[in-house]
Symmetry: C2
Subunit: 392 residues, 2 copies
């Protein structure tokens, strides 16, 4: 083992203790009223498409994030799909997406029949780089009465999806500025950033709409689930309508006025969500403590940077992340091997989306930063339970 | 009140007793191990995309239906979407769909970018009419090396979706024969027919694939949920892959080889499903008893036919249904009004799909039977709990 490897392992050991036998990347925690709410949901017999927990979950999400409205749906991918449709994305359009993201960001674009168009990230946020974006659009795009046109493909660029990577807010201010200049609707992928704020405002509430995920690995979970956030009441109403088969209300008639989806979150899953939301402030506190512990340790280790929250931002530190100062797939994989062998579940970042076979033919900007990040980022175990004692 | 109205109300009264104050159309029942399995699922912390309940639910569904494989997904609509994709449906294709169905049958076709093409039903099953289908295809379609072509639109007809209406099996034998002749893959929409058999074989297992729904109003519920059934192991594998983001297995690498979906059923919902499946034989027995009670009463009432299981079929009698011998929207709506006012939740059948604004421009066969059924069918309260005493 070389120095970097042994230092890395020692750091994990110091923060997390010895795995016995295994410390997962992110484990959910159900120490609150989860069982009670689930049992009550069963007692009520309302487990499915309507019920008090869905209403309550939506109201509490809106309150917590400060969004005017939250619409609960089956998962983050579905939320993104509907948000894009409501932003006006139509088949054959292009949508700007970070090459460094989970595959769902691009899949939701494909689900609209549209084409992801990959753009670069910046080191400080791990998210879209506003300056690189502006330079790129200046070169390849043109504002026309038909919208923003990609001069190389002649297709319309219909929207942009900034994503808050591992909970760290993207440079939203400058990004919104560029988007406005190019008349691009902004859909924030805040799947990973519940509890993260940009200059005091919750992520996912600054663009036209934003989305959250409550998958099992997220900061709170509903089993599977997601939400659309928006400050536009008419968009919220349309989102609710489209995600619930677009049925018009009637005492008994079945009349649906649009192609709709069955994307509503079952009341059962919302019951779990309501209990988890009550724990969220405690999870956030623990996760920020854990991040601080990692940061203190990795400060001392040469060759490794701990990624901290961007300036003027609060991060939920969903997944704690280190960056190798010398990008190298070989070193990265060696560190991953020794950590995982030792029982610390660690992971690399995602394969850049333009390398996946279904997206290799999609348009893309130069991606120098994303390409470096791809071989230098490692996610560390980040469950709130790894910090103990706060409750006692 | 005229004679028909008072007879109808008296019949409901006799079978169901006085509502106090309201008898829903179909209510779920949680008298088994639902709470236990949900609590155990929480204890395990595996509430999300993988877990023992998902595996168990899939295995038990396969066993119960006799399908080689069952793939659990978020709902019936998602199941249909993926089954159609795997049947080879591509954007711009047409898919034959009964005009008399729940909107999800057509929506799933639209979700593939394909076009529903509406065909007629028969009185005896309320489902697709094989003879009418054959005559229609003879007239408008042509088998070519490129597949079955609609001569009027020049589009490919890529699949057919027979649906087992309210649990009554469609005439599958003759339908499969016609489908085979025209080289049409058959995807059975068995959303409503868990527990129903056609000549001894479970519905949803006779075509290329079939789908189930476990929505709150179905015979068993997972909150929201569905499944794909198939006897083709490779199709099952592909279905699992596409519904779980098409990720290739790897110790840490994120590599996805197709546009995929997040359509997996959470383990939490599968836990509910496993408990409900244990109750299914009892639900089926009760529902068949309730159907018998309705049938005995409505035999005596002129102007009303009770819809019973087609010959050589077992129906789950998901929703008990009567048919007015004189089709009339006015009479139907008067009966619906008095029943619902009295606290018996009754509903008409669906608005025929070709009348919905997003589907008015779709191709369609003559629909004389569906049009009569539309104004003559009424669903009656059908919860298993309406029959009591079986457990004691
Ligand atoms: C960045 C990002 N976008 C979208 C999603 C999709 O959310 P879900 O898994 O709930 O569909 C996720 C989480 O999985 C994600 O991390
Ligand atoms: C005939 C039919 N097809 C499809 C579906 C769709 O199932 P789900 O509601 O689970 O999406 C349903 C049930 O709602 C249905 O009745």
């Amino acid at each position: 083992m070389d120095t970097l490897e042994s230092n890395f392992l020692a750091a994990l050991d110091q923060v997390l203790g010895k795995p016995s036998p295994f410390i997962p990347l992110h484990e959910p925690e159900f120490g609150g009223r989860e069982r009670e709410f689930l049992n009550h949901c069963i007692d009520s017999t309302f487990v499915s498409s309507v019920g008090q927990y869905v209403d309550q979950f939506e109201a509490q999400l809106a309150e917590f994030t400060g969004a005017k409205a939250a619409i609960a749906v089956v998962n983050g991918t579905a939320a993104l799909h509907i948000a894009l449709l409501l932003a006006g994305v139509t088949p054959g359009d292009e949508v700007l997406v970070p090459a460094l993201s989970f595959v769902a960001t691009a899949n939701a674009v494909a689900h609209c029949g549209a084409i992801p168009h990959f753009v670069d990230s910046e080191f400080s946020t791990l998210g879209l780089d506003p300056l690189a974006l502006q330079n790129y659009l200046e070169r390849i795009a043109q504002v026309t009465p038909q919208g923003l046109i990609n001069k190389l493909t002649q297709r319309r660029i219909a929207a942009i999806i900034p994503m808050h990577t591992y909970g760290h807010p993207v440079s939203l201010g400058p990004l919104l500025h560029v988007a406005k200049h190019y008349q691009l609707p902004v859909i924030e992928d805040a799947a990973e950033s519940l509890g993260s704020t940009y200059q005091g405002t919750h992520t996912g509430t600054l663009g036209l709409a934003g989305i959250l995920s409550f998958n099992g690995n997220k900061i709170i979970t509903t089993g599977g689930g997601g939400a659309i956030l928006t400050n536009h009441q008419d968009l919220a109403n349309q989102a609710k309508h489209l995600t619930t088969t677009a049925k018009q209300p009637h005492r008994w008639e079945f009349f649906h006025d649009h192609v709709g989806w069955n994307y509503r979150l079952p009341n059962l899953n919302a019951a779990l969500g309501c209990a988890q939301l009550m724990e969220l402030p405690m999870f956030l506190e623990k996760k920020r403590q854990l991040a601080q512990a990692y940061q203190d340790i990795f400060k001392e280790i040469e060759g490794i940077n701990f990624i901290h929250a961007p300036e003027n931002c609060l991060s939920n530190y969903w997944l704690n992340t280190i960056q190798l100062t010398q990008p190298s797939r070989e070193i990265r994989d060696r560190l991953l091997t020794i950590a995982n062998d030792a029982g610390f579940q660690c992971r690399p970042t995602w394969t850049l989306l333009h390398r996946l076979p279904m997206y290799t033919h999609c348009p893309r900007a130069p991606l120098p930063v994303a390409e470096q990040l791809e071989v230098s980022l490692i996610n560390l175990p980040s469950s709130p339970k790894l910090v103990t004692g706060l409750r006692d």
